[in-house]
Amino acid sequence: MISTYEVIETNKMIDEARLDVRTITMGISLLDCIDSDINIVNEKIYNKITTCAKDLVKTGEEIEAKYGVPIVNKRISVTPVALVGGAACRNEEDFVSIAKTLDKAAKAVGVNFIGGYSALVSKGMTPAEELLIRSIPVALSSTERVCSSVNVGSTKTGINMDAVKLMGEIIKECAYLTRDEESVACSKLVVFCNAPDDNPFMAGAFHGVTEADAIINVGVSGPGVVKRALEKVRGENFEVLCETIKRTAFKVTRVGQLVAQEASERLGIPFGIVDLSLAPTPAIGDSVAEILEEIGLESVGAPGTTAALALLNDQVKKGGVMASSYVGGLSGAFIPVSEDQGMIDAVNRNALTLEKLEAMTCVCSVGLDMIAVPGSTTAATLSGIIADEAAIGMINQKTTAVRLIPAYGKSIGDSVQYGGLFGYAPVMPVNPYACDDFINRGGRIPAPIHSFKN
C-alpha cells in the first residue's frame, strides 16, 4: 500500500521542484512519402503526419490529468527531409516547400515543434543533402515550428569538414535572415556529431532510418528534483552524493516510463525509448547549474565544474537506466546557457567562458547549446567551434552538438531575449584569432583509430 509520505514526496516534486515530463515526441517515418513529384511529396507528408499524430496532443493532456504530472511539450520528429525530398527537390525552393508543409502539419495537430529538417552527412553530401542544407536559412526563417539538424561527423566515419565549413556559413545566414527577431532561426538549428536516431528533444530531434514506421519517445526532466534532494545531503561524501542522485534519477525516470507506456498504448504506436535527460528551463529552481553549485561550487565555471558535471551525468544515467525498459536519445545533463538561469548568472559574473563550456561538453550529454556570440563572429570561426565540438564527440564516442547564435548586430554586453523555454542569453566573447586556413582546407578528417572494432 502506498504511504502518505510517498504521496507527499511525489507531489512535492511536482509542485515545488518542477518535476515534469518534458516532451512526448512522436517519431514518424516519411520514407513512404517519397515521390518524384514535389506536390505529391508535400501532400503525402501532410496527410501522414496529420493522420499519425491527430490524437497526440489530446492523449498527452489526458495522461497529464490522469497522473497529475505536467507534460510540457508534445512534439513530432520525422525522417531526415534530405532523404524524403531527394527524388523530388530540384532546387532550394522545393525543399523550403517541404518545410512549410511540416510547419502547416505541426500547426494542424497542435504540436509546438517538428524536427527532422535534417541531413546526415557525416562522411559525404549527396546533391540533395547539400541543397537541403543550403535551404535551411530560408526554411527556418519562413516557418515557425520547424527544427533542423545536420550531422557532420561520427566516430565511425570521421568529420566531414566540407559540411563543417558550410554550416558556419549557414548559421551566419540564419542569423541574418532573422535579424529582426534576435536571430531566432539559429535556436532551431543544431549541428551534431554522433547524432542519435531516437532523440525526443528539440531542436535536434529526427526520426532515424533505423526506426519503425512510428514510435513514441519520451524525454523526462527534473533538475529541480535533483537539486532539492542534494540540499538534504550537504557536506556528505561523494558516495552519499552519488547515491542520492541515482535514487532521484530513478524516480524521475519511472514517471517517464509510465507516461511513455501509457501514451504508446493509447495511441497504438510502439514505445521507443525514454530519454532521461536533466533539461533545465529558465524558471527559478529548474537549473542544472544550481545542481553543480549545490554539489559544492561557488559558481558554475569554477575549477571542479567539469568533474562535478561528469559525476552528475554518469549518476543520472546509472539511476535512470534501471527505471526504464529502453533508454536512449541523449540521456544525461543538458547545459544550455540561455535556458538555464544559473548558467546565465555565471556568464554575467564572468565565471563561465566558452572555453570552459567546451570542456564541460566532454562530459555532459550533448554540447555547446544556446550560446549567443557576437554578430561579428566569422563563418570560419563558427566552423572552427563546430569542428572542435565534433572532434570531442568523434574521439570520445559521444554525441556532441553545437547550437550557437551569432546574434546579428550585437556585441559583448548585449543579450538575446527569446522568452519561454528558450530564455535569454548574454552575448559571450569568442577567441579573436582566426582559423580560416584550417577550415578552408576542404575534405574530411579520417575516423579515429579506435573506431575500427570489426
Binding site: M1, I2, T4, E6, V7, I8, E9, T10, N11, E62, A65, K66, Y67, G68, V69, K251, R254, V255, Q257, L258
Partner: protein, 90 residues
C-alpha cells in the same frame, strides 16, 4: 480495479472531510482508506478511493475536486495510483 489517490492539503477548517466525502458519495466513488493528520496547523489528508463505478470521467472529477478545494482554500488533487507505485516500488 482503478485505485485513485486523493490528496487534500491546506489550512485546517471545519467540515473539510464532510465536503470531500459528500462529493465523492454523489459521484459514486467508494473510499477504501483515509489517513489524515494536522502538520503545523496544516491539514493533510490522503484517501485511496475506488472509482470503478464513478458516474463521470476521472479527469472531470479531478477538475471539480480542484475547484471544490479552491472554494475552501485547499489544494485537492486526484491522481491514478500507478504514478506512486512506479516511482516508489521496484
Amino acid at each position: 480495479m482503478t485505485k485513485t489517490i486523493i490528496t487534500v492539503v491546506g489550512k485546517d477548517t471545519v467540515g473539510i472531510i464532510a465536503k470531500v466525502c459528500t462529493y465523492l458519495a454523489e459521484k459514486n466513488i467508494n473510499i477504501m482508506d483515509i489517513s489524515q493528520t494536522i502538520l503545523q496547523g496544516y491539514f493533510n489528508m490522503m484517501m485511496i478511493v475506488d472509482a470503478t463505478e464513478c458516474t463521470m470521467p476521472l479527469s472531470e472529477v479531478a477538475e471539480e475536486m480542484a475547484a471544490l478545494g479552491d472554494e475552501m482554500g485547499l489544494s485537492i488533487r486526484c491522481q491514478h495510483e500507478e504514478i506512486f507505485n512506479m516511482m516508489h516500488r521496484i
